[in-house]
Amino acid sequence: MLDVTFGIPLVVLSDVGQAISLLLIGGGLLWIFIRSLKAKEVDRRVVFLFIFFAVAAPILFPITFQEKATPIVKKLFDKVESLPAGSKVLIAFDFDPAMAPEVQPMANAFTRHCLVKGYKVIFMSLWATGQALLTQTLERVVKGEFPEKQEGVDYINLGYKAGNEGVLNVIVTNFRMMFPTDVNGVPLDSTAVFDGIKSCGDLDLIISVGGGKPGIKEWVLFVGDRVNVPMGAGVAAVVAPQLYPYYPKQLLGLLGGVKGAAEYESELVKHYSRFEHTDTPGLRMMGPQTLAHVVIMAFIVIGNISYFIGRRRERRR
């Protein structure tokens, strides 16, 4: 059989509901396609029904499609994948609750990836409202999924610091001037994570997750451009186009919106079997989207086929 999927399994199925609903949608489309060859028009209610199923089925039976990572995501994933164990990675949570549904899955995926690779992770936030979301990730992902990791040894939470890009201006030369201690008041010098880190230049990778100001742009301008540290980012879909110009020179890779998150999660699940049963909100949210888009596109194709066949028939007459 022709490998139309380019080596990726079509869809990850785990229960009967998923299989039945996909069969229903696929079979239905096929039936309509065959009808369209006789130049029959489809009633719009049929289109409505398909859209309803295409959206409802993945919600009821979380169908996740394997996302093929686009180069802009893949490059970042490969970079995180290829660092040596013990590398120092900074993840910045520069977002607020309004943006969180879109970008927090990315932050969680980055966190999982870094921890599973055994890197030392530094968490911080330039947004006052980001601190609570950072704590959420620490509780659920770090402490919940990686109980063996120790605070201070494997990761550290610097928390929120006021001053926007001013903070970056300082940590680019000296972390301790801005953060004498971590969020719990432990001096940085006494932590293993900060052993050998003076400034941002001593990090191996910086990942900023956000979508507003200060955010990725500020990280690039104030840190990335000044010290030679690779940078990656995850952003809300609306701001992604403004950041494309930074790729691939100033940003190694960029995750834009739910789709970017889904692609990264997909890569993560593909590489690490331990994440097979972790919640992947990016992929989950992409299920209805993908299916609905496919259905709409299928109907456009079907419509054109019946249109052309009908026209040819009329000409013959």
Partner: protein
């Protein structure tokens, strides 16, 4: 019709009882009585389904939801308008006793008398209901139209005209450092010079051709006609792309509604 109505009602009721049984445990945390809470959610779900049923055809459920919504929303905006604009903005400026009656802080000022003018204009507007004083209603309309026309005149001249025109002032040869440099650094990547140059050319020509398409007083013939045709092509490509791009957002809306039905109402998913 009556029979299908009864069947549909029975289905909704059945689903409600089902969801009630499924979810009765989860209502314990809610402070409200679970029956009341369940009824509220069920009514919302019923209205949701009633609107969705419109997709099949116009039916009594849709008519019910539609008419209810019209009445409730009209009253909603009237109440909000009364409390925020009349009580919040007007009353504190024109009358101390009314302010005390509505319990809003009185804000006296030496020029507050001007607030009687909109009241007078508003009453003139109500004159429409009178048969022979109806022409008075034109005064407030003239005031509103004149004020906003003047406001829009300068506002759009600036934002939709001057700023858009000056935004087209882009160099056609971005970072031009000679032909040799251009050829040696040629790349198709998104951040390359070639792509940037093409983008600026397309934007410039697209804007010019688009504007030519909108010429009314010149026949679209010859070169002019060709340019106007290119203009409408660019417009069509744009409309298609925007349409395709919007699909994502619209699907998200439906995801929200279906999640409400499955999670908040039926409790099938967590």
């Amino acid at each position: 019709m009556r029979r299908t109505t009864i069947i549909a009602m029975a289905v909704v009721l059945g689903l409600f009882i089902l969801s009630w049984i499924l979810r009765s445990a989860s209502y314990v945390t809610v402070q409200e009585h679970y029956l009341i809470g369940g009824l509220k959610v069920t009514f919302s779900a019923f209205l949701t389904l009633a609107i969705l049923s419109f997709l099949y055809k116009d039916n009594p459920f849709y008519k019910f939801a539609e008419h209810l919504f019209v009445g409730v929303s009209a009253a909603f905006w009237m109440s909000m308008g009364f409390w925020t604009t009349i009580v919040g903005n007007l009353v504190p400026r024109i009358s101390q006793s009314l302010s005390e009656f509505f319990q809003v802080p009185y804000q006296p000022g030496s020029y507050n008398f001007v607030y009687f003018i909109p009241v007078i204009l508003g009453i003139m507007l109500l004159m429409r209901l009178s048969r022979n004083r109806g022409w008075l209603a034109r005064w407030p309309l003239a005031f509103i139209v004149g004020t906003t026309a003047g406001l829009n005149f300068v506002r759009y001249l600036r934002s939709d005209f001057m700023e858009q025109v000056s935004a087209t002032f882009v160099p056609l040869f971005v970072d031009w450092k000679g032909v040799g440099y251009f050829i040696s650094h040629f790349s198709l990547s998104a951040s390359g010079q070639f792509v940037a140059i093409v983008a600026n050319w397309v934007i410039f020509l697209g804007v010019i051709c688009g504007i030519i398409y909108f010429f009314f007083s010149k026949e679209h013939k010859g070169v002019f006609g060709a340019a106007s045709r290119v203009g409408i092509w660019v417009l069509m490509i744009t409309f298609g792309a925007s349409f395709g791009y919007t699909v994502m957002g619209r699907i998200s809306l439906l995801v929200g509604r279906i999640t409400f039905l499955f999670r908040d109402w039926l409790g099938w998913i967590s």
